[in-house]
């Protein structure tokens, strides 16, 4: 089988930076806390320059999963309404989640996601910082790259 991963170049790095700068929500993959099977939910997500912040409710399965096991993955980059969605760039972060004090990130979060001021302070909402360990960029067919966090 041929290796589908291309050598990382500046175009790939720039695309990763753009996808991360633009992200406001994403698909979060975790291990279900009871079955240990994969489980994917939608979460609000903002990139802080080195890691992803997510604001989640403790009532959700994905939050209970992160509290039990911090290994996670995030799919970033939404297709538009036109064309084959699989030609639109997206990336997969492999990450490890750690809970952080949401009060310390409130100003930055609300600047990026102003509508979440309605629930930011709710007591069941907590914040995790997802530290990436690998970044798989898929810029469309034949445009796969694998980057380390230090490369972006």
């Amino acid at each position: 089988m041929r290796d589908p991963i291309n050598p990382t170049d500046e175009t790939a790095r720039a695309l990763v930076r753009q996808l991360l700068a633009d992200v406001r929500f994403a698909a979060l993959g975790v291990l279900h806390p009871e079955t240990q099977a994969p489980y994917v939910g939608r979460v609000g997500l903002v990139w802080d320059g080195a890691a992803a912040l997510t604001l989640v409710s403790t009532l959700s399965t994905h939050t209970q999963a992160l509290l039990a096991n911090p290994a996670c993955s995030v799919l970033v980059g939404e297709p538009g309404d036109k064309g084959d969605p699989l030609t639109h760039p997206r990336l997969t972060l492999t990450a490890v989640a750690g809970q952080v004090d949401k009060a310390a990130h409130k100003a930055a979060w609300l600047k990026a996601v102003p509508k979440s001021k309605l629930y930011y302070d709710f007591s069941d909402f907590v914040m995790f910082r997802l530290m990436p360990t690998a970044i798989d960029l898929n810029g469309g067919f034949g445009k796969a790259f694998r980057l380390s966090p230090g490369e972006i």
Copy 2:
């Protein structure tokens, strides 16, 4: 902690059916074949009335993952461009994947996803059918439901 899951009603069932009828792509969560950590990728996806079909390349990490371990999860339902993305309905399928003969599903797939005729017959593309074991509907804040596949 209060139970965030509402009793299933006809409105919830109808919303699940609509989300599944409309799906053309989704976020697929799997266990990475080397690390066993969660891994999320974007895939083309079509609902056939009882299960989800996905057409994937064997060159991708998520396909290698499904070949090694059929436990998976799919996030279905894309937010529009306006409003808080977390108020838009989506659902999480928990599923088990089995490889199927893509030739047998070609007409139905191409009717739903005509643009994929460009690569449907490529030898590295294979098809899996994802049999759901549970359906978590999130219709927006306070609108969480949990359905069995038989309920829709």
